[in-house]
């Protein structure tokens, strides 16, 4: 099982990335070897799946759990062949600006 302390730190790091400017996000994707923009959602999803059990263990508060759910719900609404998962979209699409706002708000709950 993932370390509980690491979990909160990993969520905070993920939210920091999601709230960052597009060029920072693009640099991250290049840094991991050229992953799809999808990685921003898939990495969040990997952590979000652990959140309920972390909440049950008292590691994550209900408020933190809800804020993770809010941003994952936003990612769900964008998912599929929606044209929102390109580098171009990441740079200019309003929906990604909304993701950054949600992530920044959620990050405040984790630091």
């Amino acid at each position: 099982m993932k370390s509980e302390n690491n979990f909160v730190a990993e969520v905070a790091a993920m939210l920091r990335l999601l709230s960052a400017e597009p060029e920072v996000q693009i640099e991250y994707l290049e840094g991991i070897g050229g992953g799809s923009v999808d990685e921003l959602a898939l990495e969040l999803d990997d952590l979000a799946r652990l959140a309920p059990s972390m909440h049950d263990a008292g590691i994550v508060s209900l408020e933190q759990l809800r804020s993770i759910e809010a941003i994952t719900s936003q990612m769900d609404s964008m998912s599929g062949d929606t044209g929102m998962w390109s580098i171009e979209s990441l740079r200019s699409d309003e929906v990604w600006r909304q993701v950054r706002k949600l992530a920044a708000a959620s990050l405040a709950d984790f630091i």
Binding site: M1, K2, G31, I32, G33, G34, G35, S36, V37, D38, E39, A41, L42, E43, L44, D45, D46, R49, L50, P52, S53, T72, M75, D76, S79, G80, D81, T82, M84, W85, S86, I87, E88
Partner: protein
Amino acid sequence: MLRLLNLGVVVRPAIGAALTFMLAAPVAAEAQFLIMANPAAAATAGEVLTGAAGGTVINSRIQASQGALRPVGSILQSVDDVMANPSLLAGKSPALVQTILQKTPGWKVETLAKGSKAGQGFVFREYSKRGNPTGQMIRWHPGGGHHGPDPYWRVTSHTLGKSEVIR
């Protein structure tokens, strides 16, 4: 000098049998263990639950498979190999990897949950006995899309963390 341990060990029920290993362990800390196992059986030493000599897990870095001894992560035969050495996935198709890994107890086959390829791809995720994800997973992304990347793998393990993209 060798220290001999004769352990009656029980592996997880899915394997369906109790196996007895004769283990010869060099006293030197970095020495390799020798495992003489039933040639017809294959088991991961790290799955050992109990030992008649009071031992538990002997050495999770060694696997006995078809009677042969090899370091975990040297070839792609199990989830443990991937967790130890994610680069084993380079150049492998999802169909091949699924065939090798799909019957691993506690691991489930899924598809990508989010992004442009939601519902596609291949995710192999570990769950605890309570049904909660443990955080370990193996993921294949089909790539594609407008200026999208080539297909790739990523792995998250408790020991190595998140891998980079593997192709």
